[in-house]
């Protein structure tokens, strides 16, 4: 249901504004609405103005903002050593934090820069090592010649290697040799051996083709391959050790100071939120005024809190909600036990307006019934019941999965109930094996009675929707619209009775007077609502006919189950038959969960709710402290 809201005004001396905002922030039950104050009129010399902070407050705000930014940067740089937040009182340690944060920031930034350099060096060395280690076997195949120049290259793919081979043979007149291999991390690399005298041309050709040559620091360039690999190992060891050392130092610092800085950050955030909140307050020469919304039931408690905290200087008063406020009232939905899980279905829609209805209880009442009417099978219902109990119990801490389990549980109970009425247990298996008979309709045969039943459900549902719409209009003080809806309801009823009397003539039901009633009401409706009135009537009729899907989808579900049983029986082997039937029933059950859910929801969202629900409400979002 939609929780009753109160429009409240808080008034007090200007100097108590920040403390009042702090109290409201701590209680977390008040949503300010500065737009409400635009309509307030005061005496000429006592006009409302938006709040302008004084010099001291502005200085304090910019000091806290600067500190907040520095602490945020420091926390980003510090590694996540602990999630703890220090229980320290924040305000007394703020001066200390201000003093230390610059020292720590300088130290951590410096260490972070050095660490980045070391990490890059480790990465480069690892790549170099992989490269030269992979080339080692290729080098062994080459002749030992002092005139030989060796170039290590990285190649994109085998196609590039082929093109490169052709190009280099062409440029060097066949005086070079390329061999290739793959490194441990899957990179294709090559070793080009050529005459030292034409190595310059070769390098130019590689540059032209944008093929990177693996370069080494100058001090390693003249070493033999074995010495080169050993030197790279040594360097990698040193760089890794340096990384570890700095990481340990940063972790130690983080373990000691992160909780303190996190506490300071939370406090600073709250303080800055308060300053930002002052934008929602208006002031006169001496007072501040805040207007906003809160839950009606919380008003007395907050009145007492404010009165006690400020010794009567600040006052909270409840104001009347005016008609022009109705679209602005924030909406909060809260439903008792049985209905609460059905909020997962109503949340798929935008919020209703304050003057409208919460669709959740209606979904809670009708959705499982429609689901049961469509699926209607004892066997499927029992399986769904087991699944729903599992979901509700196994995922109890996860609200959504648990809610889905509960909704499915109620829907499965109705599925079992309608399964008894239709005499279905895995299609016709109950009839064949257990002699189960339909108490009401045999859906596989009684197509027309089932269609009439589905349409009757549609008539009741739609007429209920129109009645609720008329009541909502009355609540919004729009009697003309309410009367039109009632006229529509009567026209729909008369039209339907006329159709019934034509199809199934009864001595007490004459088509003529019913049509005369429609003929009298239609011009009235056209006069009141224009040419849209007949269209609306047609739309309503279409909405009612749409309920025939309850029969149609149910019928297809029964036939699929019967086909599953027949195919299972036709296989000739018990095991194969059971397997085939199980697979087809599993498929049917999957469809049986999806199709009734989607169509039962559609009947609500499109057909039923369009008759009375006014969507587009604002969510109630009270100020509250961020959980730390």
């Amino acid at each position: 249901m939609i929780i009753r809201m109160a429009k409240v005004e808080i008034v007090g001396p200007k100097q108590d504004l920040l403390a009042t905002l702090d109290l409201l922030h701590n209680r977390g039950i008040f949503q300010p609405d500065p737009q409400l104050l635009e309509r307030v009129e005061l005496a000429r010399d006592d006009r409302l103005n938006t709040l302008v902070l004084n010099e001291h407050e502005l200085h304090e705000r910019s000091y806290f903002q600067g500190l907040y930014e520095r602490v945020s940067i420091l926390l980003e740089l510090l590694p996540e050593a602990t999630d703890a937040i220090s229980p320290l009182q924040s305000l007394p340690v703020m001066d200390l934090v201000d003093e230390l944060v610059d020292q720590h920031l300088a130290k951590v930034s410096d260490q972070d820069r050095i660490l980045t350099e070391y990490r890059k060096e480790v990465e480069d060395l690892q790549r170099d090592l992989a490269f030269w280690q992979a080339l080692e076997p290729l080098l062994a195949d080459l002749p030992q010649d002092s005139n030989l120049e060796l170039l290590g290259i990285t190649i994109r793919d085998t196609r590039q290697l082929q093109a490169l081979e052709e190009l280099l043979q062409q440029r060097t007149g066949g005086r070079c040799h390329i061999s290739s291999t793959t490194t441990t991390d899957g990179v294709l690399i090559g070793l080009v051996a050529t005459d030292r005298r034409i190595a310059g041309d070769l390098r130019q050709a590689l540059t032209d083709e944008r093929i990177p040559e693996m370069s080494l620091p100058a001090e390693l360039a003249n070493l033999t391959l074995a010495e080169r690999i050993a030197a790279l190992h040594e360097r990698l060891k040193t760089a890794t050790a340096n990384c570890r050392k700095i990481e340990t130092q940063l972790l130690e610092l983080s373990r000691r100071w992160r909780p303190v800085y996190r506490r300071a950050l939370v406090w600073l955030e709250e303080r800055l939120t308060l300053y930002r909140a002052t934008a929602t307050a208006y002031t006169t020469r001496l007072c501040f005024i805040i207007q906003g919304w809160m839950e009606q039931s919380e008003v007395p408690a907050l009145q007492i809190d404010i009165s006690q905290a400020f010794a009567g200087r600040v006052v909270l008063e409840q104001l009347a909600i005016l008609e022009e406020d109705l679209d602005q009232v924030p909406v909060m939905l809260r439903n008792p036990g049985y209905f609460a899980p059905f909020e997962i279905l109503s949340r798929l829609l935008p919020l209703p307006k304050y003057s409208s209805y919460d669709p959740t209880p209606l979904l809670g009442l009708f959705f499982p019934v429609f689901f049961g009417m469509i699926l209607g099978d004892i066997g499927y219902g029992l399986i769904l019941l087991i699944i729903s109990v599992f979901l509700a119990k196994r995922f109890a801490p996860q609200q959504m999965a648990s809610d889905i389990g509960k909704v499915l549980g109620v829907a499965s109970l109705y599925t079992i109930f309608f399964g008894f009425l239709y005499g279905e247990l895995f299609g016709n298996m109950g009839e064949t094996w257990l002699g189960l008979h339909a108490f009401w309709f045999d859906r596989s045969k009684d197509i027309l009675p089932m269609a009439v039943f589905a349409l009757t459900v549609g008539v009741v549902h739609i007429l209920l929707g129109i009645t609720l719409g008329a009541l909502a209009d009355l609540r919004r003080h729009q009697p003309r619209k309410a009367l039109l809806k009632l006229a529509m309801l009567i026209v729909v009823l008369l039209s339907l009775l006329a159709v019934v009397s034509w199809l199934y003539p009864q001595s007490w039901l004459n088509t003529g007077p019913l049509l005369i009633g429609v003929a009298i009401l239609m011009p009235v409706m056209i006069a009141a609502e224009g040419l849209l009135a007949p269209l609306e009537l047609l739309k309503t009729m279409g909405n009612i006919i749409s309920y025939v899907r309850i029969m149609a989808i149910g019928f297809s579900s029964v036939l699929l189950a019967v086909v599953a049983n027949r195919l299972g029986g036709m296989s000739g082997s018990i095991m194969v038959g059971i397997l085939v039937a199980t697979m087809l029933h599993a498929f049917n059950l999957l469809l049986g969960v999806f199709a009734p859910t989607v169509h039962a929801l559609r009947l609500h969202y499109v057909e039923f709710f369009s008759k009375f629900l006014d969507l587009g409400g604002r969510r109630f979002e009270p100020w509250h402290k961020r959980p730390s």
Binding site: R347, L348, L349, I447, L448, A451, I545, S546, V548, R549, M551, A552, I553, F555, S556, V598, H599, L601, R602, Y605, V606
Partner: protein, 70 residues
């Protein structure tokens, strides 16, 4: 011969709306997939939107059933 015509009429009654539904669902489905890429929270609404054109094929089914049964 009459039976053939009745069966043909029933097939048309469900076949044509089925094609129309498939076409409508393909358009809505494609638009819905695009929407979900940007706003995954609209999954429920998109599923409902995709199901809306099914009314056509359901009504076609009812008409076909009535042609065969009446």
């Amino acid at each position: 011969m009459e039976k053939v015509w009745i069966a043909f009429a029933a097939a048309l009654a469900i076949g044509l709306p089925a094609i129309a539904t498939a076409w409508a669902q393909s358009r809505i489905g494609a638009a819905g997939a695009g929407t979900l890429a940007e706003k995954p929270e609209l999954t429920g609404v998109i599923i409902i939107l995709v199901a809306i054109p099914e009314t056509m094929v359901i009504l076609g089914f009812v008409v076909a059933a009535m042609i065969l049964l009446m």
